[in-house]
């Protein structure tokens, strides 16, 4: 199966750009079982792809060597085909490590003649604190009255969308807080008449007094926003073990995309789904995270708690 992931990257590199639809079709042809949205996000996290806002179109990124956060190796990200891999092999000894649900990680211990330095370290410097990130989520207006949509609401307990029989319990009055209505929703238009009606929207209703608007982002980001806005529901936390430079995040509290990308680009490895003694929910393990990164993450928000083990 690892070869199919490599082939996907080769295909994307030769294709150059395309739509989410043709990415999905290719994943299917190659027998990749993961959800296309997940595949696209993982490739983005690894720096192989960038997407248009709305994520319906993608383009492959330029190939480059990135230094790891521990400064002990360089890994390759971006476009890759067998031909370029052969060219790189002629330059240096390459370490090829397969990883679950992604193309092989290609790395080298010797410094390449051309590399972009430690991207994760630079990105760390640009990461906004969570309050700023939250304040800058994009607000959108619905094109039609609420009654013209079918609503599903994200159930935090069950970790799934649940169909609502009618419209959500939200109030248009800006001075009444919608504790009941606040949450992540999936909206589908009941009757399709115009091209835009086709799009299933995942939106977050912020029902705080004086706010009252719909916000748009990827689902994982909106789910995180919900936890961030409602710390009484569940505390946001992460776990760090300095001796092994490993960092864990509860899977259901997965960080918004750009924060997770910083973690992934620290090592070139995607998060690994795992369990940890004392935690009764699945966790995502990131490797190769130095102590100074963690100190930076601690300052992202007062509501984000670290547990050192």
């Amino acid at each position: 199966m690892s070869e199919a992931w490599n082939q996907l990257l080769y295909w994307l590199s030769a294709q150059g750009d395309g739509s989410q639809k043709n990415l999905s079709q290719t994943c299917q042809t190659l027998g990749l079982a993961a959800k296309p949205d997940q595949i696209r996000r993982d490739l983005q996290l690894l720096g192989h792809l960038e997407v248009q806002p709305g994520a319906e179109r993608w383009s492959i990124t330029r190939p480059c060597w990135i230094q790891t956060a521990h400064k002990d190796a360089w890994f390759w990200t971006g476009a890759r085909v067998p031909h370029t891999l052969e060219q790189e092999r002629a330059q240096a000894d390459l370490e090829i490590t397969s990883q679950q649900g992604a193309p092989d990680r290609i790395s080298r211990r010797t410094e390449p003649a051309d590399h972009v330095g430690c991207t994760s370290e630079r990105l760390l410097g640009y990461l906004p604190d969570l309050a700023f990130w939250r304040a800058h989520l994009v607000q959108v207006d619905l094109h039609y009255p609420l009654a013209e949509y079918q609503f599903e609401r994200w159930d935090v307990e069950r970790q799934a969308f649940q169909a609502l029989p009618g419209i959500p319990p939200i109030s248009p009055d800006p001075y009444i807080a919608d504790y009941e209505g606040t949450g992540v929703y999936r909206l589908k238009k009941r009757v399709i008449r115009r091209p835009m009606d086709h799009y299933t929207k995942i939106l977050y209703w912020d029902g705080s007094i004086g706010k009252k608007h719909w916000l748009i982002a990827d689902f994982i980001g909106l789910r995180f926003a919900h936890f961030y806005d409602n710390p009484t529901d569940e505390e946001l936390r992460f776990i760090y073990r300095e001796s092994s430079a490993e960092l864990w995040i509860p899977e259901h509290q997965r960080w918004p995309y750009i924060y997770e990308r910083c973690l992934v680009l620290a090592s070139g490895y995607l998060a690994e789904k795992t369990s940890l003694a004392g935690y009764d929910y699945p966790l995502l393990k990131f490797r190769g995270i130095p102590r100074d990164y963690v100190e930076h993450f601690e300052h992202l928000s007062d509501t984000l708690k670290i547990e050192a083990i």
Binding site: W11, R193, R194
Partner: protein, 592 residues
């Protein structure tokens, strides 16, 4: 520099083939006007020196004679297009396939040296008088007059081999060759004659007819022009009438219509003054089709003008367009097309003209409005979700159809007769001049003319929907990669022969350049079937049956053949600040 044979060959390649869209038929339609135009472009770009006293056609013929003449006799031995021919030995066949694969994967340009001579042969055909029969004697007399060389039987055979080699080279480059041998005495001369769409006399006659009948019909779109042509066909020369009324060679018919449309669009017929050199009389215009742009964030649809390059256009240098107070650059998109303009078309039925700057030849770009538009999926990247007017839809090919409400009833009627079908019909109420509808995944289901005759169609619909071919092959599945007909070899294709009745067709698969057939099988039309290539290589699938004959080429690539795409025009990025001055793209973080 005074151009020699090689210079002419390269110049011909640049204007005839370099920017010819992939997957389309190639006609070497060369006449004196074309040669003058090609030479002027070379002079303007500083490559060649101007010749005040001599005609460029004479200079071209002299260059051919100097290179291939041997004491008054044609001698083709100097043209060594060996590496492009299917060579005889097993080792050479292997080498040939390697070259083909190299060309495909590296997009390498290896121009056949024969191109100059083949163009000279076509020039001879176009120089024959419009009342002259295309007989072997007439042709070689004219050949001797123009080139001052004799062509014996051996060299005639050699010339035929060069045409075959050229056809093979075109196939490798994903173009459709059109030159073919004739019967009996016309065996050899049919190659150049088949390339000659318009002789000088044919063109003059056509311009006269335009001048007399068409002055009030400016900026007709291709749909309107075809209707006009059909109404005035009897006034045109016999050669043109013959091609137009020959449904069995649809490629040639379509190419001729395109050539006539280009003449119409240039409006050189407006003032027919025989004393002026042709290029001075000509107001050269580019035409724009329609490109569909979908904003996936909001779901909004925009239609934009999609400029097409014209035949014999030298695309070197920069070309700008005036739009209100702005100057917009025309940016190369792919052979045959510039990138869509960042101008939203509010009313697709309304024609618009834009002034061009930066070229002495090209003065205007015209978007010819129409009440109906069919947009097909990107032929280089079929599942990319991008639709534009790259070509007319073929039977069985899904496309988007945009039209005014007026045509709704007729379309429903066609659907009732099971001639077309669509998945979805949506309203585009942001467009002006009436209510516009967009039909998604429309398909032409039937090809038989008698079935279509049951419905009286207006030209705006018949242009797009009335099938001109009796059979087509629909290709689905597999793993397509960028480029026309490119697939990863190990993934089977899902094919379907679309025809008016479910009859049996004989299919044979051949590797290009190989004599032997890999496999033959019988296949019923309108039923899907799978095709798996035995290994990587260039293949042709030949289909023959009651509805006619067609051939489809495939490049079956291995993973090792894939190359990084370099010409990505739209690279996305993740902004790291509000103003989007700091951007992240893969491993790169940069400031703009």
């Amino acid at each position: 520099m005074i151009p020699n044979y090689s210079d002419w060959t390269l110049a011909l390649y640049e204007v005839l083939l370099k920017n010819h869209p992939e997957g389309q038929a190639v006609y070497l339609q060369i006449d004196t006007d074309s040669l003058e135009q090609i030479a002027q472009q070379q002079v303007e770009s500083g490559n060649w020196r101007n010749q005040e006293q001599t005609s460029w056609t004479q200079a071209f013929l002299r260059a051919v004679r100097d290179y291939l003449g041997d004491r008054g006799q044609l001698n083709l031995a100097r043209i060594k297009d060996y590496y492009l021919c299917p060579p005889p030995s097993q080792a050479q066949r292997y080498e040939c396939r390697q070259i083909a694969r190299y060309q495909l994967s590296h997009q390498a340009v290896i121009c056949p040296l024969s191109l100059g001579f083949l163009a000279a042969q076509v020039l001879v055909a176009t120089q024959m008088r419009s009342d002259q029969e295309f007989s072997s004697g007439n042709y070689y007399n004219r050949f001797r007059q123009l080139l001052q060389l004799d062509c014996n039987h051996l060299e005639r055979q050699g010339a035929a081999r060069l045409w075959q080699t050229f056809n093979y080279w075109l196939q490798l480059r994903q173009w459709i060759p059109t030159a073919h041998a004739g019967q009996g005495p016309q065996r050899f001369i049919q190659y150049p004659i088949s390339q000659c769409l318009l002789r000088q006399g044919d063109r003059q006659k056509f311009e006269q007819v335009l001048n007399q009948t068409c002055r009030t019909h400016q900026n007709m779109g291709p749909q309107g022009f075809e209707a006009w042509l059909s109404a005035h066909q009897q006034l045109l020369s016999r050669h043109v009438r013959n091609i137009l009324s020959r449904p069995e060679d649809d490629l040639q018919r379509q190419a001729l219509i395109q050539a006539l449309y280009a003449i119409y669009l240039d409006r050189s017929w407006w003032d027919v003054d025989e004393n002026l050199p042709h290029r001075l009389r000509r107001l050269q215009r580019l035409r724009a089709g329609l490109y569909r742009y979908e904003n996936f964030w909001t779901g909004e649809i925009e239609y934009r003008p999609y400029p097409e390059m014209r035949r014999l256009q030298n695309v070197g240098g920069s070309l700008q367009l005036r739009y209100h107070d702005q100057t917009l650059n025309l940016v190369f998109d792919r052979p045959g097309f510039y990138q869509p303009l960042p101008i939203e078309i509010q009313n697709p039925a309304e024609s618009q003209t834009f002034a061009l700057e930066g070229s002495s030849d090209l003065q205007e770009l015209v978007f010819t409005g129409s009440n109906t538009w069919a947009l097909v999926a990107d032929p280089l990247n079929p599942h990319s979700g991008v639709y534009a007017t790259w070509h007319k839809p073929l039977p069985g090919e899904p496309f988007y159809f945009l039209c005014l409400e007026t045509y709704l009833q007729k379309l429903v009627e066609l659907k009732t007769f099971n001639l077309i079908d669509w998945e979805e019909k949506l309203v585009l109420d942001h467009l002006s001049s009436g209510l516009w509808y967009e039909f998604r995944n429309m398909q032409i289901l039937k090809t038989a003319q008698n079935q279509w005759q049951r419905v009286q169609l207006p030209p705006e619909l018949s242009y797009w929907l009335l099938p001109s071919q009796s059979i087509t092959l629909v290709v689905k599945g597999g793993l397509p990669t960028r480029g026309s007909g490119n697939y990863l070899w190990e993934f089977p294709l899902q094919l379907q022969i679309v025809s008016s009745s479910d009859e049996e067709y004989a299919c044979s698969l051949k590797e290009l350049g190989q004599e032997q057939t890999i496999c033959t099988f019988s296949q019923r039309a309108n039923q899907p079937f799978a095709l798996k290539f035995p290994k990587y290589g260039c293949y042709a699938l030949e289909i023959t049956g009651p509805g006619g004959r067609l051939s489809k080429r495939f490049n079956a690539l291995s993973w090792e053949d894939l190359r990084l795409r370099q010409d990505i025009t739209q690279r996305y990025y993740h902004p790291l600040d509000e103003a989007e001055h700091i951007r992240m793209e893969g491993g790169y973080i940069y400031h703009v």
